[in-house]
Symmetry: C2
Subunit: 207 residues, 2 copies
DNA sequence: TGTACATCAGTGAACGCGCGTTCACTGATGTAC
DNA sequence: TGTACATCAGTGAACGCGCGTTCACTGATGTAC
């Protein structure tokens, strides 16, 4: 008996997948994961709920796919400034966030929703924040050692602040669209300057 | 025909109300509003779902009550430092947040969930952020004018940052319980100092 | 001080509804010969 | 180049379930006389 191999999805099928993930990202960003229904999403892409599940095994799998989408998009943007220092990378994260407002809202809304331990994305965000804290702390420590940021503040606190500023501004912007996230982020990093624009200041890095 | 006036709730009933609101605050903080069910809440306080609705007209009314609870609690804490300057008040907000971890989580989780325009708490949070921005901006502008914060940063940006730092840190702490929110907030305010601890610096406020 | 009774506190069963998912099915699409 | 047919893309109806809320009801509690 000879068994035939699966053909895999057609080109049209793959396009549909992308279209569905993009629409899901928009809806999750608007209302969160739990409050977005398969019926609502299906209608958005012109399918029936059952049609969605032909492309994805479950609503959970869609969430996983959406989280991956954001990751890819951000990593692609960061790959354009290879080997840049942390300030530049942080500003690139902020710039990317401002440019992709949808994905940005998505991440803030989902991370807050996923603080519930039984939320399907809880493990993802716990790992995300753990990894971000680790990377940011060691980068900030290195910058502090090299005199690139003020030495009179704990690098651990500065790392927490750098992350909090991005999250907090993005949340705030959802209620105050006039808020200029990029400008505020730039101002934050200026606060960290090792040599503030104070007349008569000497370089503390040589101490 | 003489109609008798309503008696109002008994003492036991009022205690129940408070007990229910407290439990609702805990559950909303854990899982958000939409994902918390009346059945779950009823079980927590030893009632049936219908029993809850004897004390509150709807789930929505419970949410309103819970939001008011937080407001009262924070205002009571701030009333203990009357007329204090903005730094002290901000630190008091942070201290209060750290002490009432439940209420704090509640506010961050709900504000993210409520970014959806049709969420029952959307108007509340929109007004909350609008009012907070207004107060914080004018306070920051006054401090800048008086030389109490660095003059080389826009007061509007600093105000946005002050709010974002509190929100962002509280969100981050839900995934990293080791995070020291109070310390990070103190570090942030040190970054704003008008006269950084730099040898040889002169007071820029007299310029 | 005693008691009738209106109101309060709470129950248990049921309601209509929207949810994610299943299942058997139909037509479209690409491929092997 | 033509065609048989396996697989893909998608439908329509139905599923069991948990949701917020309703309703008629029972016992407890406080109050007016």
């Amino acid at each position: 008996v000879t068994t035939r191999a699966a053909r895999g999805p057609y080109r049209k099928g793959q396009e549909r997948r992308r279209e569905i993930v993009a629409a899901a990202a928009e809806l999750f960003a608007e209302s969160g994961y739990a409050s977005t229904s398969m019926r609502e999403l299906a209608q958005r892409v012109g399918l029936t709920p059952a049609g969605l599940l032909h492309h994805f095994a479950s609503k959970d799998e869609l969430l996983t796919e959406v989280l991956g989408l954001r990751q890819e998009s951000l990593e692609a943007a960061l790959a354009e400034v290879p080997g840049a220092d942390m300030r530049t990378r942080a500003r690139e994260v902020a710039r990317h966030g401002a440019e992709n407002a949808g994905l940005t809202s998505l991440f803030v809304v989902l991370s807050a929703e996923a603080t519930a331990p039984d939320h399907p994305a809880h493990a993802y965000f716990a790992e995300h924040y753990r990894g971000t804290a680790e990377v940011t702390q060691s980068a900030m420590a290195a910058m502090s050692r090299d005199g690139e940021v003020r030495a009179d503040a704990s690098p651990v606190d500065l790392a927490s602040l750098a992350v909090a500023v991005l999250d907090g501004l993005q949340l705030q912007q959802r209620y105050r669209p006039d808020l200029d996230v990029e400008s505020a982020v730039a101002t934050f990093w200026r606060l960290l300057d090792a040599s503030p624009a104070v007349p008569g200041a000497v370089d503390p890095g040589s101490a």
